[in-house]
């Protein structure tokens, strides 16, 4: 049992949340592009949205690159950063899958500044980049509908959490 149950005999909340999770599993499939069907209005994207999704992929690529750089220049942070880096990479994978068409391949850019070698400074540098990315995904979220809005909002929230633990 993973959630709070209304006290018997009421039946509402758990049932609703169970259905919610089951439905969200389907939603996640849409978000990853596995079940999108032509004519699905909620899955349709305009050319401008395609561009914006590509931009969000670039934002996330920069986060992944920043973690790689920080782990390279401040390896003593590996224990704390490796799980966060893995989460950022998983986010990038799902974001790429949700973006229609060929995104092409580009060199992911960070801020253009190399990661500091001092661990404290490296964490602060990462924190700034992660916070900026979270804000960018959160700002993009309302511009989409359906699974893509849910995915962008979720990733934004996940990065907000990372920003907090990097403090």
């Amino acid at each position: 049992m993973s959630g709070l149950l209304p006290a018997p005999p009421a039946a509402g909340a758990f049932t609703r949340r169970s259905l919610l999770l089951a439905t969200l599993a389907g939603s996640a499939l849409v978000a990853t592009g596995c079940t999108g069907t032509p004519g699905d209005v909620t899955d349709a994207v305009t050319p401008a949205q395609v561009d914006q999704l590509a931009a969000q992929v670039r934002v996330q690529e920069a986060v992944v690159t920043a973690y790689d750089q920080a782990l390279s220049t401040a390896p003593e942070l590996a224990a704390s950063l490796t799980p966060l880096a893995a989460q950022a990479l998983a986010q990038l994978d799902r974001l790429r899958a949700a973006a229609p068409g060929d995104l092409g391949t580009t060199a992911a850019a960070t801020s253009g500044v190399a990661a500091p070698t001092d661990p404290t400074e490296a964490r602060a540098w990462l924190r700034g980049l992660v916070g900026t990315a979270a804000a960018a995904h959160a700002a993009a979220c309302p511009e989409f509908t359906g699974g893509r809005a849910a995915l962008l909002g979720s990733i934004a929230a996940g990065l907000r959490g990372q920003e907090t633990v990097l403090a």
């Binding site: 949340r17 989460q87 359906g146 849910a150 959490g161």
Partner: protein
């Protein structure tokens, strides 16, 4: 509806309203649940619990206002809830708070999925981010590593 409120099927925001009802139900659960969390934590943690509870009271009020403005009858809180596990220690209390926040995150992610109004998605993304921030703090208190999740509110792929 018998009281004259609008039929969900007649509303252009019917699916969104249904998702907002889920978020409201999650807020009701959280308000109740934080009472249990607070009772199991030492007094010095009370401010944190109160802050979380106030956040949900505010969310509840915003949702009630939004649904009422749409002439949708908001879901009531339940007379009682059954805990998913015994809450006998501060770690249990933190774990319950994580459950509350993750339930809220799932509801708000669903709102984002179902929302037809841009303003609702703005509301949803803010609420989801706030829930995850609270969840991170409680996961730390519950000793979970890492305390962050890649996809708050969504099932892992």
């Amino acid at each position: 509806m018998a009281d004259g409120t609008r039929s969900p099927s007649a509303s252009p925001t019917a699916t969104e309203d249904a998702a907002l009802q889920e978020a409201l139900a999650a807020a009701h659960v959280a308000i109740w649940g934080y009472g249990v969390v607070g009772a199991a934590l030492p007094p010095e943690s009370r401010d944190l619990v109160v802050a979380c509870e106030l956040a949900y009271l505010d969310l509840r009020d915003q949702l009630l206002a939004l649904l009422s403005a749409r002439q949708v009858e908001p879901v009531d809180d339940e007379p009682g809830y059954t805990l998913p596990f015994p809450v006998l220690s501060p770690v249990d209390a933190a774990a319950l708070a994580v459950t509350l926040e993750e339930g809220s995150s799932a509801a708000w992610t669903w709102v984002l999925d179902q929302a037809t109004e841009r303003s609702t998605r703005q509301f949803g993304v803010a609420a989801l981010g706030a829930a995850e921030l609270r969840a991170v703090g409680w996961r730390i208190r519950a000793g979970r590593t890492p305390p962050t999740t890649a996809f708050p509110g969504l099932p892992e792929a």
